[in-house]
């Protein structure tokens, strides 16, 4: 993987633009995710309605370009989806990173997030890319319980 594939325009746009980086006043679900070894630390906030649809989502925190972009791209993707759909997408994303799913057609549902497909060739950055997706899964799991 070379730098052109890693720091694509899409990734830079998302890591620098702040459109999903904010505090949601009426969030009814929030989850912190962090990588102690590299210092990435995000808090994901969700507003889910009664039917279980993710009406809004945002994040705060700090981290590298990869973790920030991955978070922002994920938020764009899951907004308006049901909790089940969101969870499914997170699973597909994680499987893509683990190279368990490689078929582009199957990955199509990830939309822009497919840009991280080759990050597994850069082992130290894998954690950065998957952080928000794991955090999303935790958030939905905890929401379930409460």
């Amino acid at each position: 993987m070379n730098l052109n594939e890693l720091y694509t325009e899409l990734i830079l746009e998302h890591s620098q633009s702040g459109h999903n980086r904010k505090h949601l006043d009426h969030a009814n679900c929030s989850e912190r995710g962090h990588n102690p070894s590299c210092g990435d630390d995000i808090t994901l906030e969700l507003i889910c309605d009664e039917e279980g649809t993710i009406k809004d989502a945002s994040f705060t925190g700090s981290g590298c370009a990869i973790s920030q972009a991955s978070t922002s791209i994920m938020i764009d993707l899951i907004k308006g989806k049901s909790k089940e759909e969101a969870e499914k997408l997170a699973d597909i994303f994680i499987s893509m990173i683990k190279k368990e799913i490689t078929d582009d057609e199957e990955l199509e549902v990830l939309e822009d997030a497919i840009v991280f497909k080759n990050i597994s060739n850069m082992p130290p950055r894998v954690k950065c890319a998957v952080l928000s997706w794991h955090t999303l899964k935790e958030a939905l799991k905890n929401k379930e319980k409460s």
Partner: protein, 412 residues
């Protein structure tokens, strides 16, 4: 520099001759670990091919040879740090284990409720977390000496923190983040005047400068072989004999005993009392070869080369906009470790980008989270030199660093 030719020296280090991502490797992570000269690799190979055995035990030829090699290495370390006696040299796994040994053995025995343990805010986790444990178990107090705005110590702050209730003062002679060299001799003296003992973490100093334990009058000194051309898996604990003798053993098992009965045991004399189980002879042999190599180069040459590189790197970094340096700018009492941040760029992105240019540097908290918090720097990048680095490497590093902000989408 008498007889110092860095290009010739580099030929002794196969690792440095490599290409990484198609570019020559520019290894600037020497504070993490250093590469090994052929002489060290050969010494270890030779040991395994000719003398490998369990020392102290066998009366056979190999056992005798292994014992001799192991004890020669101990004597070599003694000379190197000018300890009074080879019995004051304990081989451990690394500096971390050495510090734990002191904490578990000296700390558990001599620290009582209300006693104070004093460290610097810039300490490596290895010199913090063991003390947190002792403080917690013994209801003692762990206190931090803070630094001034030049990333150095004020003696007033030292004198405020070290009190009559202080039992242990433990500090790194050189910070692995800031590069600051601290006046450990003065601090040890002050600690002694208050009835405390002084522990010097030499992990970053011993590889780079002459450390004389008698001159420093430190009670303990710890360091790691792998940061000074030696192999991984070997470290040193120096302790004054009077102290080591009154300390209980730490790890228990073979070799550190005298007589074992079913319910009681008497322990061997120093240094074996603190070396349980089959010793790492290979590691000791490798460390000896590393010391031989270092002394052949000479600390004067090492210092001169490292300071030239440090001065040059600081100058070039300071020319760059968006760069902030954490650590003293003047060269007095500082070593070849430079920690910095690049505005708007996360250090992991910095690492990844310079790595594609073959440059190996370190990103993160450098095992010094309390310092990072104190400096309000969540994560930074660090370069660190050894004598085998060159000015050309600094140039390659600076060039690669200049590309980072562009890659991350900034205009300049």
């Amino acid at each position: 520099m008498k007889g110092f030719n860095v290009e010739e020296i580099r030929k002794d280090f196969p690792t440095l001759m490599q290409k990484v991502n198609g570019k020559p490797l520019v290894y600037l992570d020497n504070a993490a670990t250093t590469h090994k000269p052929i002489s060290v690799l050969n010494a270890m190979q030779d040991y395994y091919e000719k003398f490998n055995a369990n020392p102290n035990r066998g009366a056979h030829f190999l056992g005798v040879s292994a014992t001799e090699l192991y004890e020669n290495a101990r004597e070599r370390v003694r000379q190197f740090i000018n300890a009074k006696s080879a019995r004051e040299i304990i081989f451990t796994r690394n500096a971390t284990e050495s510090l734990n040994l002191i904490a578990y053995s000296y700390g558990m025995k001599f620290i009582d409720e209300g006693d104070e343990i004093v460290v610097l805010i810039s300490e490596h986790h290895s010199n913090i977390v063991p003390w947190q444990k002792i403080a917690h178990m013994k209801k003692a107090i762990l206190k931090y000496i803070y630094l001034n705005h030049e990333y150095r110590l004020d003696m007033e702050e030292v004198q405020t923190k070290i009190t009559d209730r202080t039992k242990i003062v433990s500090l790194a002679q050189m910070s692995n983040v800031l590069g600051t060299i601290f006046p450990v001799k003065e601090i040890a003296e002050y600690a002694h005047s208050k009835g405390a003992i002084a522990i010097v973490d030499g992990a970053q100093s011993v590889p780079h400068m002459k450390v004389d334990v008698q001159d420093l009058n430190t009670d303990f000194l710890v360091f790691s072989g792998h940061k000074m051309l030696g192999p991984m898996g070997i470290g040193v604990l120096y302790g004054k004999k009077e102290l080591l003798e009154k300390m209980p053993p730490f790890l228990m098992g073979g070799d550190m005993i005298e007589y074992v009965e079913e319910q009681t045991t008497t322990f061997a004399e120093l240094p074996r009392k603190f070396e349980a189980g089959t010793p790492n002879v290979e590691g000791a042999v490798g460390l000896k070869a590393a010391i031989d190599y270092i002394e052949e180069i000479g600390f004067e040459n090492i210092n001169e080369q490292e300071m030239e590189l440090t001065a040059y790197a600081l100058e070039r970094l300071r020319e760059m906009p968006h760069v902030k340096i954490y650590g003293p700018i003047d060269l007095k009492d500082r070593g070849g470790v430079i920690t910095f941040s690049l505005e708007g760029c996360h250090p992991h992105d910095v690492s990844t980008i310079v790595d594609t240019c073959g440059v190996a540097l370190r990103a993160g908290h450098h095992c010094a989270q309390p310092l990072m918090k104190y400096l309000k720097a969540p994560a930074t990048s660090r370069i660190s030199f050894y004598f085998y680095n060159t000015k050309e490497e600094v140039d390659i590093f600076i060039d690669s660093l200049k590309r980072v902000r562009k890659w991350l989408g900034y205009e300049s």
